[in-house]
Symmetry: C2
Subunit: 262 residues, 2 copies
């Protein structure tokens, strides 16, 4: 199959929205039951039965729908991709598992599709508020059915920046300088909900160290809306390893890169 | 008038819920218009036409309903109380004005009633999600009509703590030690939404430097649910000046006081 047409992209978008409708219902039903929570690397890195069930469900749907594609996903049911040739799907079955377990809010389900390393479509499902942020460069970005406009291009000093709490606390990546230069900062504790706030113009930027499934969908949506996405040194993100990701308005992105290099 | 009866307290609760229904509609309508934003002390301390209109509306309702009482409120339409004798109302017409202006979420409207320095009733209106957290020691605590149970008494190391971002960033009040000892920390940027998360058991504690209108309602609800509320040294809060407020589960409160004294 060659590069996807706009018609095919719209069909894919509609198909994944149906999957996410099922995922939302399954996730809400599971939240009424007792969660089965396990530690991965340590007690701050959690996985639940919902993460695993959602990933199995989504990856199974993808494999039936697009058998040639590869899948990069968090909980071990994906492939071990060596490159970004062809179509690659990214799946984060519960982004913000700590928030999911402890706060029952500020978590998301994220899916993205890239073709030959180019962003095609991204989906961020805010389960609790029943909103899917979705789209890509061919079709625009939507909050459910509502087409989103590009956020206002505010400077760092004019807006709220979102940062990884742990990295700020331990003095990493110059986050203290960024926080002090911004009008204010907030710590949400999950990538999807943070990307949503930047896409919606509620925050002027967000930075954290992330794995590809954490930023793949957000990058598609943010770039489509004209926001800047790079690593903290201004380089393009590596889609197959961890990156210190920076998404921001163009002006705040420039301000943060300048601060980081000073 | 002597101390309020349970019947009178229920009547007051219902009356204030009606005011808050009006306030919610007025606030949402105003959010569709252009906000008139002014700086108070500096560009991080904001006031809008909505703060002022809401405070005038609420204070006017209180003065008609309870002419003997005094009012302590944020935007200058209250009294200059010298003591906590008799009935004192606390009004925060928009708590989290920065979030209101920039994020359009994570703000609240808060009202509280004390009698002879004792908590009687508190109301925290989450405008965006259309939930009022309300109640007091005589009637219990409710999220709209749903009666809330006391949160699980988790330790600091078992839960997420909410902290004032500015104070953490500038190394104040030992917040870095608290953040490191907790399972995780978040910065929400407003008192009402932070109190809500502690009351709902989503976070094990919250600390910030606050004025009385920031903590008056939250203290009523938190104490009614068996949570601990004090200043960071464990002393009772002064209802007529600023305090470094700590609200937490009993176990996390003990953990944080121990950390703070070490």
């Amino acid at each position: 199959m060659t590069l996807l047409s706009q018609f095919e992209i719209q069909e894919i978008d509609q198909t994944v929205l149906l999957w996410l409708n099922d995922i939302r219902q399954k996730t809400i039903a599971a939240m009424q039951q007792r969660l089965d929570v396990h530690e991965k690397r340590d007690n701050r890195d959690l996985v639940t039965n919902v993460d695993q069930d959602n990933e199995k469900f989504i990856n199974d749907k993808i494999r039936h729908f697009d058998a040639e594609a590869h899948i990069v996903s968090e909980e071990g049911f994906g492939d071990h991709n060596q490159d970004m040739n062809g179509r690659v799907w990214f799946v984060d079955p519960i982004d913000g598992t700590m928030n999911f377990v402890k706060q029952k809010t500020d978590f998301a389900v994220m899916i993205a599709l890239y073709e030959d390393n180019q962003p095609v479509l991204g989906w961020i499902l805010d389960v609790v508020n029943n909103v899917v942020y979705h789209g890509g460069p061919q079709i625009g970005v939507f909050a459910n059915q509502l087409r989103l406009k590009p956020p206002i291009d505010d400077n760092l000093s004019e807006g709220i920046v979102l940062l990884s709490g742990a990295r700020l606390l331990y003095g990493m990546f110059g986050y203290d300088k960024i926080a002090k230069a911004a009008l204010g900062y907030r710590v949400i504790g999950a990538a999807g909900p943070s990307f949503i706030r930047v896409i919606m113009g509620q925050a002027i930027g967000y930075s954290s160290k992330m794995m590809p499934w954490d930023f793949a969908a957000g990058q598609v949506l943010a770039k489509t809306l004209g926001l800047s996405v790079s690593d903290i040194d201004g380089k393009a993100l590596d889609m197959l390893s961890s990156n210190i990701v920076l998404v921001a308005t163009n002006r705040a992105h420039r301000d943060i890169l300048t601060l980081h290099q000073s």
